[in-house]
């Protein structure tokens, strides 16, 4: 059995039904274990590192005086080394933010969605995450409430001597016509001594007419492992608009499963990744058009240097009854070195007629003539390269609606 499955005393272990949920996760993970090269969904991103037997789950929280310095106003929710840290920010009317364990025990309505949205037999790391179900946050935005300031979930890690392993599980529910901006920021500070593993699951439920802009910045330490799954259920006329920047970790996988389950639902799943060294950064999407008149757009752009490897697996599934749907997908990569690599696997599964679907992929290098032009004006090579890289990412980052966040992401991408 994998060393990732450890027996630790979790809160509520004496409650049979809760134990049962966790046990199901453990069993599902025990069946598959850490994916190998033979696992189709993981054939390009090999999480070999995660087979090591030296991951340690810390059982007590340690507060740090680290503070996120975000250049935009926001409500902050913070986790330190995988543990919830209460914050002193007052939330406006109509928003509820509850630590997950509290929600599981005292807000029975969470069980309508919690651990229901993804099939854990298909997602080994979601199964593993469920076996530790404890830390995370439940966010509920009431009907017709439009959140003015973004909600930011910060996961901050201080890598220690040991290889930390932690799981976070968030449930985000937007009721009818609610609207919000959610930011996830995964960062670290201190010295990079160990290769910690952050295993994350978000379940996002959008009721009819709800709008969510979800922005994520994965800026983990360079030896870290970051595996994240966001599952989104989008109901009638709701909108899920996401952007994920990955620029840290040795293995980083950001997987998004969107179920457009009622007509008029739409999703925009955009991403950018920037990498060097030996990193593998993986963007995997699965957009399921389950109902008629649903739309999805994806733009993913990567900048790959060193011996790094970018992975994009993008699936668009159109169910038999999902007529008059539209699904587009485009992946582009900029290769900065001869040893940089990119693996792209687009997949269209179309079972309906009268649909508009497209996918495309392109990769290229920095243009020598453009570099020379800038250098001939006195701009140094590194600066010239950076200008071209910024320009390359401009359109995808430009899709972030919230201006303050967009400017922040632009800086994070440098």
């Amino acid at each position: 059995m994998s060393s990732l499955l450890q027996k630790i005393p979790l809160i509520g272990k004496e409650i049979p039904w809760l134990n049962d949920v966790r046990q199901k996760g453990a069993e599902a993970f025990a069946k598959t274990g850490v994916p190998t090269a033979k696992t189709e969904a993981w054939k390009y991103t090999k999480p070999r590192e995660l087979c090591g037997d030296d991951f340690v789950i810390k059982q007590s929280k340690k507060d740090s005086d680290w503070k996120a310095d975000l250049p935009f106003e926001a409500y902050q929710i913070r986790f330190e080394n995988g543990y919830f840290c209460p914050q002193e920010s007052t939330l406006p009317q109509g928003v509820e933010v509850v630590p997950l364990i509290e929600a599981m025990l005292f807000h029975p309505e969470v069980w309508k969605h919690l651990c229901k949205m993804a099939d854990i037999n298909k997602y080994p790391f979601a199964a593993l995450n469920q076996s530790y179900l404890n830390e995370g946050v439940y966010i509920r935005i009431e009907k017709n409430v439009e959140l003015k300031k973004p909600l930011v979930i910060i996961s901050h890690t201080t890598p220690g001597e040991e290889n930390l392993f932690f799981n976070l599980h968030n449930l985000i529910v937007l009721e009818e016509n609610a609207a919000a901006t959610l930011v996830e920021y995964h960062t670290w500070s201190g010295e990079v001594k160990s290769r910690y593993f952050a295993n994350l699951v978000n379940e996002i439920y959008l009721s009819a007419g709800a709008h969510l802009e979800h922005i994520k910045v994965q800026a983990e330490a360079f030896k870290a492992n970051h595996v994240a799954l966001s599952v989104v259920a989008a109901n009638k006329d709701s909108e899920y608009k996401s952007f994920c920047l990955q620029r840290g970790a040795n293995i980083g996988r950001n997987e998004t499963l969107v179920k457009l389950q009622e007509s008029g639902a739409c999703a925009e799943v955009n991403a950018a990744y920037i990498m060097n060294g030996w990193a593998t950064l993986d963007t995997t999407t699965d957009i399921e058009h389950l109902s008629a008149q649903t739309t999805s757009h994806q733009l993913v752009k990567g900048v790959i240097g060193g011996d790094a490897k970018g992975v994009f697996q993008g699936k668009i599934h159109i169910a038999p009854n999902a007529v008059k749907t539209e699904g587009n997908q485009l992946h582009k990569a900029l290769l900065l070195s001869n040893t940089a690599e990119v693996d792209v696997k687009p997949e269209l599964e179309i079972f309906a007629d009268d649909v508009k679907c497209s996918h495309g992929a392109a990769s290229g290098e920095l243009d020598e003539d453009q570099l020379f032009y800038m250098r001939s004006r006195g701009i140094g090579l590194e600066e010239a390269r950076q200008i071209l890289i910024d320009a390359y990412l401009e359109d995808v980052i430009g899709k972030i609606k919230h201006e303050g966040i967009r400017n922040w992401v632009e800086k994070e991408a440098k």
Binding site: Y373, M374, R375, S376, R377, G378, I387, L388
Partner: protein, 253 residues
């Protein structure tokens, strides 16, 4: 009056992809001088410009180039620019996604930094661009657009000269700055070029047409064929070439 040499090219030989293009090129340009370089298509004029500015893909196989007494060929392209060389390109490059003004600001400040001058802030920079732009008919709408993208041939050339007047080089190579310019624009651009002539600023003007040389009057005219200068003279040589063409200089093939 003793002359101070600015650019000294000696026996320069260079090739592109195993093809010898420059074969023993000699030329000295002193401070304040304007030299015109004329020659048939494919003679290697743009190649010479690129070699002098350090573009990749051009292999120098012999000779030397000194600029202000320093070995030019060992410098990076950006250092050549920072030392005061400017190349107005025959085909300015388009850079989508990079606003012209952003690019210009990077360039100005990179050069200022090299000379230990404080960087210009956005206000100072815009003021300067607006002033210089007005003289050359480059409006502020144009510099908001991505660099050279969708610019007409003439607009691109005007922008080259705008860059030159902002970056204030001590030596400029103008590779067919007159191509694509209408008659009025030619005048405007020439005035922009002449405004830089302060007795020290020097130029190598590459052109196919005498007309530009009516405005930017050269001290010397050189005919470049078969990889080197085959004839030099004063401005009257340009008039002669206009009449007779290059026939007498081009070897029978």
């Amino acid at each position: 009056m003793s002359k101070t040499p600015l650019l000294e090219i000696e026996d320069l030989c260079a090739r592109v992809e195993d093809k010898e293009i420059i074969k023993g090129f000699n030329l000295t340009i002193n401070e304040g001088e304007v030299h015109a370089l004329m020659g048939p298509n494919g003679a290697g004029k743009s190649t010479l410009s690129n070699v002098l500015c350090g573009k990749k893909g051009y292999e120098v196989t012999g000779g030397s180039v000194r600029f202000k007494g320093k070995d030019l060929l060992s410098m990076s392209p950006e250092d050549r620019a920072r030392e005061g060389i400017f190349l107005s390109m025959q085909y300015p490059v388009e850079i989508p996604g990079v606003p012209t003004s952003t690019f210009l600001k990077h360039a100005v400040n990179a050069i200022r930094k090299y000379h230990n001058l404080p960087e210009l802030d956005t206000m100072e920079f815009l003021k300067m661009v607006r002033e210089e732009g007005r003289k050359l008919g480059v409006d502020s709408e144009m510099i908001k657009r991505p660099l050279n993208v969708g610019f007409s041939g003439g607009e691109k050339k005007r922008l080259e000269i705008l860059q030159m007047s902002i970056l204030k080089p001590s030596f400029a190579i103008m590779d067919e700055v007159d191509s694509g310019l209408d008659i009025d624009a030619l005048k405007v651009v020439s005035e922009g070029v002449n405004a830089l002539r302060d007795g020290k600023f020097s130029m190598l003007v590459i052109t196919h047409y005498q007309r530009l040389l009516n405005y930017v009057v050269p001290d010397f005219v050189h005919v470049y064929a078969d990889g080197h200068i085959v004839k030099s003279g004063n401005k009257d040589l340009a008039l002669e070439l206009e009449e007779k063409g290059y026939a007498e200089f081009v070897k029978e093939k």
